[in-house]
Amino acid sequence: MKPPAFDYVCARSLDEAIDALGRRPGEAKILAGGQSLTPMLNFRLAHPGMLVDINRIPGIDAIRDDDGGVRIGTLARHRAIEVSDSIRKKFPILTAAAAHVGHLAIRNRGTFGGSIAHADPAAEWPMLALLLDAQIEAKGPQGARTIPAREFFTTFLTTALGDAEILTEVKLPALPAKTGWGFEELSRRPGDFALAAVAAIVTLDGKTIKDARISMGGVGGTPLRAPGAEALLRGKPADAALFEQAGKKAAEESDPSNDVHATADYRRHLVSVLTRRALTSAAEKAAQG
């Protein structure tokens, strides 16, 4: 379990990193926290010709308030998100989900941008970026651009980023008033990848659901929204029977597969249970807020 040989570049600026990536198109990999890349190297599942280390680039790890929302720098460590007051206030669902990201040692090292760019469908940040309609900012040889989360995750471990493009920052737009959240994940042990996870936000107008969003992890090639279930909820009074129905609909919209930990059938069942629980929790919080 020793990695094959590779070249190593320690970039001091984004431009330097982009330049290095551009010189070895398709062959270079970005090293951020190394949370997923290092095991893949050691298992020899990845054979990059070059690693571009971005850990020493200054200023790309900030968490900043922005127009009621927040902007999270690509190199922000999971732990920084977990303990950020600003995030706790505006997106407490991230604070709650952070506790499910690996273990403390991993959270001290792994990065927000790295997790989203790696695009593991069972990881927490990609599914939350999708839930919160994040705007993902990237910079490459052709300049900077913004990619909506819905267009970012293309297929298993694959994103809309180009070869020499770096994810630089993620913008999470402000949530409307009277919005509550629910996050439900089942993993074999705390810190493991989810067998299934469901995140939901519900915005209420009195007792009526004005808007609802559902995002699912671990049950498809990418994180998934459940548009059918979301549509089912909109404009209806929040109640247990409706949430049960939405859970079943979300399960239909999931696309899980089998692995050593669980079958697709069971994962689909989990989606329905976890969706019901997440919606119930979200509606309760929305009613209180």
Binding site: F43, R189, G191, V260
Partner: protein, 789 residues
């Protein structure tokens, strides 16, 4: 007698600072000049003929020193002998041939085919990828029952079938007992193949010496046994081979074997004349280190109408994987299961059949608890099933069948001599401590709210120690005595050398407590030496919960020889008869006149430094060696009680409470006993909830990383309450019994019974581990009941 009384005290482990502060020295930490690194090329196929091995490209890579293949080994003298001869010459056991590097054929994925020796492990692994092996794949036999079918592919053609051992046993008339029973419960249990998974994998470093001698540092539990076996397999003079076990990061039975990689390291070092190191990586550990607990058990138990167990029968299939381990043969797990199945209950009629079969999977051998966890699982779950059918509480059916305290010593139907036990006391103490009746009330109330609570009881009696005369009747060639040397220096410090091998058990502390009481010294006076065959007398290492009995017996024996001499010296100096002297902390005093004394340090100085002051005729020096052969078996016992809550929506199992009442006889150090119990429970919970090796139909192991094969972390182990009973055995020095494996024996059955208890309203039959969320959810769901939460 001793007056300091450290035996029984909750002494903090003296070895902890070295491990907690990063001062421990493992094989990986040893660097020698000119050292080469080994990477093994391992089979990609479960079953295939090897047509060709081409190492030309690998050998051409800069930094590669040499590549060895099976053909190289086979052509070179005694090393061409199979890696085992007659370690278990059982009349009905077929001993297979296991070459150190495969020749002709591979029989499991991960079998070593070639070894690359290079300047760094990185280069060695790069080169290993360049070794081209041409295979002719053969049909793979994965399922042990399929291996029994006519026409199944044969692993070892010379045997004519895949059954390497077939034995029957028992006693009484099981058929008649079952025929006459008012209730017969029967079920099939399939235990989950899993493995030891120590934090440190296997590791070897072999170095040639100037006089044609060899030193092997290896991560082992049994340095002397490794020395004898490696020397025999290599055809090398044993006096020229030194084996050193440095600090070892866990063994759990895996490392009481001798491995091809240990033989090969010595062989390569001799061939290339340089030190060679191999550190097993985690993936190799999954593929190449022995697995365990792969058993199919069909068992039936007959009861009369009031719940008295009348008789039982078991049909056991042990899946050994591809080969048989050396020198503890792989059938031992299934054989021990058969012997232990009657457990702590009065059983007078029992019959069993055991078949051990080969399959194209990693070789199986002993791992913590060996056959006991499965035996206890079967026995204890069927007890609960019978109780449910008879309308009895699980506690009550146990009360009616446990061997009563007055019946000990008790000879079991399988020939085990239970010298002493407190099974029924442990059960009652456990029920009271966990408020069993109160739990039943809470359980009823919770069920009204749709919550699933369950409680599981497991009572067991556990074989420990395993002296020479346990093995001899089985036909095992080797022994299992123990040795200790106690040696004073001129300042009064003591070096204790032992043949056991602590790899986490805290022997330094435990033995020092025993020595302190015998010799009037302090724990910090004791320097501890183990694991180096050039510094210790022959011993058999640490396994089978043997050390406190076997090693402790030798330590106390050696100490008493030294103490007798100390008394003679004190008697001479103080001019008092030896029978009028006694040991006090730091000195020997005159009984009734404690102001008259001689310091232990002074006695040591006389014996070692100023020997002209010795009594006439007394030899200089203050040291003694004791060899000690412990009783064949000592029996510890325990009751485990687990409480679970199951999420009906997901099947997830939580363990809010876990209680153990254990009895390992006299405890030397309760703190160490408790830590050992909890550590064992952590492993037992791995068995119960997480660990499972899965193979696909082609024999590819699907669980080769710690993401796929899950072990409990510290965060996944519930708080465990440990209570004690001390029932001394008359068979041992100090009345101690073995302990260490017990936690892993009780936990799987306790958790399984608790889950079955929680799911009883659904009529679910719980027979397989691990109880991962999906399995539990299906047990609920497939009973056709409502799964809402």
């Amino acid at each position: 007698m001793a007056v300091t009384k450290l035996v029984g005290a909750r002494v903090t482990r003296v070895e902890d600072p070295r491990f907690l502060c990063g001062q421990a020295r493992y094989v990986e930490g040893i660097q020698l000049p000119g050292m080469l690194h080994i990477a093994y090329v391992r089979s990609a196929h479960a079953h295939a003929r090897i047509l060709a091995v081409d190492a030309k490209q690998a050998e051409a890579l800069p930094g590669v020193h040499r590549v060895f293949t099976g053909a190289d080994i086979a052509s070179l003298g005694p090393m061409g002998q199979p890696f085992r001869a007659d370690v278990f010459p059982h009349p009905v056991f077929k001993q297979c041939v296991w070459p150190c590097l495969a020749t002709g054929k591979v029989r499991y994925v991960g079998e070593p085919i070639a070894a690359v020796l290079a300047d760094t492990r990185y280069i060695a692994e790069d080169a290993a990828e360049l070794v081209e092996v041409q295979y002719d794949p053969l049909p793979a036999v994965i399922d042990p029952e399929a291996a029994l079918l006519p026409g199944a592919a044969l692993l070892h053609e010379e045997f004519g079938d895949n059954v390497v051992m077939k034995v029957s046993g028992g006693g009484g008339d099981a058929d008649a007992a079952l025929r006459g029973a008012a209730l017969v419960v029967r079920d099939r249990f399939r235990t989950n193949r899993h493995c030891a998974m120590p934090m440190e994998g296997r590791a070897t470093l072999a170095a040639p010496g100037p006089d044609g001698d060899l030193t092997l540092w290896t991560s082992t539990q049994t340095p002397h046994l490794v020395r004898s076996r490696v020397a025999a397999i290599m055809g090398f003079p044993e006096q020229k081979l030194r084996v050193v076990g440095p600090d070892v990061g866990g063994g759990f039975g895996l490392k009481c074997h001798v491995f091809a990689e240990e033989v090969l390291a010595c062989f390569f070092a001799r061939e290339v004349g340089r030190p060679v190191k191999w550190i097993e990586d985690r993936r190799e550990h999954f593929l190449g280190s022995f697995h365990a607990k792969d058993l199919v058990v069909d068992c039936e138990m007959g009861f009369d109408a009031d719940g008295t167990l009348l008789g039982m029968r078991a049909d056991i299939i042990g899946d050994l994987g591809a080969y048989s381990a050396d020198p503890w043969p792989s059938p031992f797990e299934a054989l021990q299961l058969a012997a232990a199945l009657p457990g702590p209950y009065r059983v007078r009629h029992y019959a069993y059949d055991v078949r051990c079969v080969c399959t194209n999977k990693t070789t199986l051998s002993v791992y913590r608890g060996v056959g006991l966890p499965a035996a206890v699982l079967v026995q204890e779950q069927l007890m609960d099933v019978a109780a449910r059918k008879l309308g009895l509480d699980p506690a009550e059916i146990r009360r009616r069948n446990l061997i009563a305290p007055s019946e000990f010593p008790y000879d079991s139907i399988t020939g085990l001599h239970y010298d002493s036990s407190s099974s029924s006391d442990a059960l009652e103490k456990g029920l009271a401590a966990i408020d069993y009746d109160g739990f039943r009330a809470r359980q009823r109330a919770a069920r009204e709210q749709g919550r699933l609570l369950g409680i599981g009881i497991c009572t067991y009696i556990e074989m420990t120690t395993f002296g020479t005369h346990y093995w001899a009747p089985l036909g095992i060639e080797h022994s299992a005595y123990e040795s200790a040397t106690v040696r004073f220096d001129a300042q009064g410090g003591v070096t204790l050398s032992v043949g056991t091998f602590s790899h986490g058990q805290g022997h330094h502390t435990t033995y020092a407590q025993m020595l302190a009481d015998e010799l009037g010294i302090a724990i910090e006076d004791v320097r501890f030496e183990q694991g180096d065959t050039s510094a210790t007398a022959y011993g058999w290492g640490t396994w089978g919960s043997r050390s406190v009995v076997a090693g402790g017996g030798a330590v106390v024996g050696a100490a008493r020889k030294v103490r007798d001499k100390m008394m003679r010296i004190a008697s001479h100096v103080l001019e008092v008869a030896p029978e009028d002297l006694e040991i006090a902390p730091g000195k020997i005093v005159v009984k009734g006149a404690p102001q008259r004394s001689l310091a232990v340090r002074e006695i040591a100085r006389i014996a070692v430094y100023s020997s002209w002051r010795l009594p006439p005729g007394e030899d200089p020096g203050l040291e003694a060696t004791q060899y000690y052969d412990p009783p064949p078996v000592t029996f510890a016992n325990a009751t485990h009680i687990a409480e679970v809550e199951i999420d009906p929506g997901t099947g997830r199992v939580e363990i809010p409470r876990y209680l153990v009442v254990e009895d390992c006889g006299v405890m030397i150090n309760p703190r160490i006993v408790e830590a050992q119990v909890v550590g064992g429970i952590a492993q037992g919970l791995g068995n119960a909830l997480y660990e499972h090796h899965l193979y696909d139909e082609n024999g590819q192991l699907l669980t080769t990383s710690l993401m796929d094969y899950l072990v409990p972390t510290a965060a996944d182990v519930p708080d465990v309450r440990v209570e004690h009973i001390e029932t001394p055995t008359p068979l041992t020095v100090n009345g101690v019994k073995g302990m260490g494996e017990g936690g892993s024996i009780g936990a799987p059955a306790a958790v399984l019974n608790a889950v079955a208890d929680a799911l009883a309203p659904f009529g679910a039959s719980v027979r397989e581990l691990p109880l991962h969320p999906e399995r539990v959810w299906r047990l609920i769901h497939e009973s056709g009941s409502d799964t809402r939460a």
